[in-house]
Amino acid sequence: MTAASATPTAPHVYLEAQTRWRVFEIVFWLATLVPLVVFPSYLVLASQIAITALFALSLDLILGYAGIVSLGHAAFFGFGAYTAGLIAKAGWGEPLSGLVIAAIASGLLGYLASFIISRFRHLALIMITLGLGLLLAEAANSASWLTGGADGLQGIKMWRLLGYFTFDLYGYAAYTYSLVTLFLVFLVARRLIQSPFGLSLRGIRENAVRMPAIGAPSRAHIRKIYTISAAMAGIAGALLAQTTETVSLEALGFPRSADVLVILILGGAGHLYGGLIGAIIYMIARDQLSGLNPQYWYFWIGLLLIAVVTFLPNGILGGLAQLASRWRGAS
């Protein structure tokens, strides 16, 4: 089928076809139910994967779609984690409301930071996101009366989820909770990407200079998506705090920001599923190779980064998309 057909498809028909749920999407989400049935001993790992996937999704919205490179996104993850942890530690262990409050708190922090973020590009932006992340980590370290410092938050006790499910060592509640949250947030992200707002984000990514020339208030758009992304990252952090009943400084640190960046790039930024795929691969690999000295893990991660950037710059999903279009073009 070549493009030179007699009558091209009507525009809204074409666009509607773009928004439909693809087969692989349905397969993917059905497959997420598999651990509950087939790998119950891995449910704790599975919920970690779901949490990391959600965090990577939040980064994808700003990096993959709006083109904002952030080396400090863990700030919002950690802020959400500490908020949820502190609420529980103060005596209010109800998970769902804690989650909502953490989301609002992280979103608020993101909103404030967005006024700075939206004014810069290129190297200055990378530096500022790095600097803001480091600032928050340092502050958390110093404020050990609040955060517990290097020992982390102790004494978090979660109540039953929906009055019935406990977060126990078996992990059923934790995984279901994390998975459902991931899915709901994903639905929101998916709608957002397919909306006019999603289109304007891609416009900013593709050509930030052209945007004001078509009357677009780029900064306002960036502030909006940054706030939403921060709230999502905060939800992921809160999930971590609630399902593991601990929070430590590494939730905010640079290694976590770097890890989520690697995960997103591995899977492919700007495809919505890239962060999810990357999280699955990365976390499973790390779990399988957990006997390895952490030094050596970072050796392989470093090599992987070099390889991905050199040979597969659009990540796994990007590479697959290229293959798919070449296959479609040939047939």
Binding site: L123, G131, Y296, G302, I306, T310
Partner: protein
């Protein structure tokens, strides 16, 4: 014992000179090609390990190891530039950051594998140890040496930039790359040479740093942050800017450690973010 103000200034200035040596190469190469090389401090780390190895394994005197620290770092950078960096000159900042972060991770793991994670000791020759007491002030000999070398290198750099043809090419390329190419300047070659020189200087800085701040595999990341602060605050491509920013950072950091130890690095990061917001192109930057 409370350190005198002079003591803080002196130590801070010496530390700043070290940061300058570590940063100046990155500032120039960033200014020339806008290539985000986050692995810059890996070259510094290489220089440090070269010095330590030569001294402890081969019994070399300290001074003799310094040129080698420079050379080995420069050579490694040339190899990496040929193999990897060259492919990404037109790539996005994100891709460049990711590639060079990958290199950092590999270098840290390699250093940990070869040397372990302990601090490396270095034995200074006797004439570099101790301190002078002049007019009631205490001047550490090594720090004086550090300041002396750095000032000398600064003068050489400025001289080379101003008075040699190569320097003129570098200045033109930093100022306006497109025009420089249009004028027939081989910008890629000038960049490759500057990159090697800058990485070599970082290696030298790394070697000199061992006595002041120690050396372990995490060096490549820990000091990256400081170097990035110097470069972004001082302005890309500006030697004077790097000098000023490094001095400012060195003294602030020292002052912070003595007068506000509870704040830790918080003050430094705050100053950086604040300065970047006020002047995104750096204090002496162009764009």
């Amino acid at each position: 014992m409370m350190m005198s103000v002079f003591g803080v200034l002196f130590d801070g200035f010496a530390y700043g000179m070290l940061l300058f040596l570590l940063s100046v190469g990155l500032s120039v190469t960033l200014g020339m090609m806008n290539f985000v090389n986050l692995a810059h401090c890996s070259f510094a780390m290489i220089g440090g390990y070269v010095t330590v190895t030569l001294m402890s394994q081969a019994g070399w005197p300290f001074f003799a190891t310094l040129p080698l620290a420079f050379l080995v770092a420069a050579l490694v950078s040339i190899v990496l530039e040929r193999l990897l960096y060259r492919r990404l000159y037109r790539a996005t900042e994100l891709d460049q950051s990711l590639l060079t972060i990958g290199i950092v991770f590999v270098s840290i793991a390699a250093a940990a594998y070869i040397y372990g994670t302990v601090q490396q000791p270095v034995q200074l020759p006797s004439y570099l140890r101790g301190s002078f007491h002049v007019m009631g002030l205490t001047l550490g000999v090594y720090r004086l040496f550090l300041i002396g070398i750095s000032l000398m290198i600064t003068l050489i750099l400025i001289g080379a930039l101003e008075y040699t043809r190569f320097g003129a090419q570098v200045r033109a390329a930093v100022d306006n790359q497109r025009m420089a190419r249009g004028l027939g300047i081989n910008v890629d070659r000038a960049f490759a040479i500057s990159f090697a020189l800058g990485s070599g200087l970082a290696g030298l800085g790394g070697a000199l740093a061992v006595e002041i701040v120690g050396l372990d595999p995490a060096f490549a990341l820990t000091y990256l942050v400081y170097v990035l602060i110097v470069v972004s605050v001082g302005g890309l491509g500006s030697i004077a800017g790097s000098f000023a920013a490094a001095t400012l950072l060195g003294i602030s950091d020292m002052a912070g450690k003595y007068y506000f130890p509870e704040l830790g690095a918080f003050l430094i990061y705050l100053v950086m973010v604040g300065l970047l917001m006020w002047r995104p192109a750096g204090l002496f930057g162009r764009r």
